[in-house]
């Protein structure tokens, strides 16, 4: 597979870079943060993104989408990472779209995919129940009740869970926490009786939610995919999400790094730019090397998701492992190289440090994914 972008992809990247620079720069993120917005993103921005076909970027054309593919979604996510743009892109355009497009019934596709493309409805995916990612350890119970199911339990770290119109909940229909078999994906209205949502503002001022389900009733047609067979679909959905997060993290790392180099090339001490000191130049050159690798593994991961490669998970694991580390390193080094200014809220570098901590944690941190690679290599 080619490791270079084609012409359409290059154009999309340029369009996304231009649009976000104009409409969603870091200053917009600051304004939103300082206004104590409860939603945590701009609805106007979202509907403009929908008009450009970005919200439905993974939606097949027959359901009103632009069907541009995962590489395209990654390009947008990378640009959003550079500008710290907050939006329901990951949860709606990548996770929910993948769930419906790849595993949904015809009725589900017809009902939901056009509403995603148009920007009309927002979605969230609820997976984790503890502080560390562990999709096989799902314990939230779904029991048969009448023609449908009743769900009870808790979910945490649900991106956009507080604003979504619909939530996809991974629940246990059989077996025990730790079993890959026995997991089922349920779609529910966010206003369902018994679904309690608590929005939390994260360290990076992104919004996620804790969900508490107490006998939430859903019909049997609310299932996405097969009963008890939800783990593999969930992995496919999560891999798309992980590749998207890797792309966002790459954008964060790239921008944090460029901002830092620009700063140290200007900042003078001892009568010269501090960027002329070898101690900083070598660290910057090392970071450049790491970021080049982050870009390469991200593209490989995005392509593997597009290609429906059965080993896609290995490349997304590699991307999430490597990029998670690189982005954190770029932000940490960035703060240090900014000196005292790096500790202030006035400079952007600290915002990147906080963002990469959150995006890096989501759907498996670097260590979790590195461990999967070791397991794949049988050691």
């Amino acid at each position: 597979m080619s490791m270079m972008l084609n012409e359409d992809q290059e154009m999309l990247r340029e369009a996304a870079a231009g649009f976000l620079k104009e409409n969603a720069p870091v200053s917009a993120f600051r304004e939103m943060r300082d206004s104590n917005s409860t939603e945590g993103f701009s609805r106007d921005l979202w509907s403009e993104m929908a008009q450009m076909g970005w919200v439905g970027i993974l939606v097949p054309e027959e359901y009103g989408g632009s069907a541009f593919g995962m590489v395209g979604a990654g390009l947008i996510a990378e640009e959003m990472g550079k500008h710290l743009t907050t939006s329901p892109f990951l949860s709606t355009s990548v996770l929910a779209t993948t769930a419906f497009a790849k595993f949904g019934s015809e009725a589900q596709k017809q009902h939901h995919l056009p509403k995603i493309s148009s920007g009309e409805c927002l979605y969230a995916l609820a997976v984790d129940e503890g502080a560390k990612h562990a999709p096989a350890k799902i314990n939230l119970k779904a029991e048969r009740s009448g023609n449908g199911f009743k769900l009870s339990g808790q979910k945490t770290f649900v991106a956009n869970g507080h604003v979504a119109d619909h939530v996809i909940v991974a629940a246990r229909t059989s077996g025990e926490a730790g079993d890959e078999n026995g997991i089922t994906l349920f779609l529910m209205d966010a206003n369902s009786m018994g679904l309690d949502k608590t929005a939390s503002s994260m360290v990076d001022n992104s919004s996620s939610a804790r969900l508490r389900l107490s006998d939430v009733e859903v019909n049997a047609d609310a299932i996405i995919g097969e009963i008890d067979g939800g783990f593999e679909p969930l992995e496919t959905i999560l891999n798309a999400g992980r590749a998207c997060l890797a792309a966002e993290l790459t954008g964060c790392a790239d921008q944090a790094f460029n901002t830092t180099v620009a700063y140290i090339n200007e900042r003078k001490q001892f009568g010269v730019p501090v960027g002329s000191f070898q101690a900083l130049q070598h660290r910057a050159a090392h970071l450049h090397t790491e970021i080049e690798m982050a870009k390469a593994v991200t593209l490989a991961a995005l392509q593997s998701v597009d290609g429906e490669d059965e080993h896609a998970w290995r490349l997304t694991a590699l991307a999430k492992a490597k990029v998670g580390q690189v982005a954190l390193l770029a932000a940490q080094e960035g703060v240090q190289m900014h000196g005292g200014m790096g500790m202030t809220d006035a400079f952007d570098i600290g915002l990147y440090l906080k963002r990469v901590r959150v995006a890096g944690e989501m759907f498996g941190d670097a260590s979790w994914h590195a461990n999967r690679i070791a397991e794949a290599l049988s050691f």
Partner: protein, 394 residues
Amino acid sequence: MSDLETFRNETREWLDKNCPADMRDGAVSEATQCWGGRNWTFTSEGQKLWLERMAAKGWTVPTWPKEYGGAGLSKDETEILQAEMKAIGARKPHDNFGITMLGPALLKFGTHEQKLEHLPPIARGELRWCQGYSEPGAGSDLASLRTKAEDKGDHYIVNGQKIWTSYADKADWIFCLVRTDFDAAKHKGISFVLFDMATDGVTTKPIKLISGSSPFCETFFDDVRVEKSNLVHKPNKGWDVAKYLLTHERGMIGEVFGNMTGGRSLGEIAASEIGIDDMGRVDDPLLRAKLVQAEVDSLAFSTLLQSVSERAEAGESLGAVSSVLKYYGTEMNKRRHELLMEIGGSDELEWSEQNDDGQRSKDWLRTKGNSIEGGTSEVQLQIVAKHILQMPNA
């Protein structure tokens, strides 16, 4: 059937018919390499036949033009040839710094006559080349070299000393940087010349390394006559050739180390040598964590290499990117060998028949040179900072 498929079938058939049985063991170690040259003693009849047959096809240097001893193969055809050779475990027929280093520089900067004279003997494995770059006073600061070439009309007289000349004691010819103008700025008085190591006044002295082997030499020139027909590119323009060659060399070094991940992973080696726990994991959690990290970095680096090679094929000029590859590839290789020593424990610390005369520890010691030769890691980082990141001068 497409042309490429036809080529693949023909290649497979030819290799099957012509690759001697003892050249099919997939060996890549130093002991099995065939360096060729005037003084080469073939380790077997098979090694000799393999070199001759491959050279006759032009496949020792498959991408070089036919008139210079190559086969003029396209990138796709070359990949097919390599894949088919790998499939039967065929050894590389020939290693020569003339192939990997001088060849590309001569193809770019040499005259037609120079190419005709020097490239075919390299392709046939008749002449073995070495590189005369570093000097005792010119290591990282290579351009400060002082080996002197005096203009005597139709020839130069060369005096001076080189160091770290790989296999100078075994080489037939040398490509060498000499100073032809002592008054010009240091980069602007250097010329790139070629001469026979058998010329009067050339002596070599091997340097014993910490690994016990002596792949490098000190090389002395005492009134050595070099014909002007063996000046490559223009006088005092040798730095352009040297830089081109170094860029090529650095990219190649990075690539070599990046592709070493093809075999068994460090983790698999550790699992078999140390053993595994109930969960199937290497029975040493702290070592395992280091191995995992090394594998992640190796895989990421291989992915970057793939991406860079595609960009290069698409015509993008690599320049300082080769320094990115050289820096990371060599540092990673050192790390991998440290981990191999850690995995091996005391078994790999002895030099005895039981462990192939301590090959693993010798390899480990050798890797320490990776981040020094061809420009140190620090020099590479400096190049990246200056040429890619455009950071200010001190």
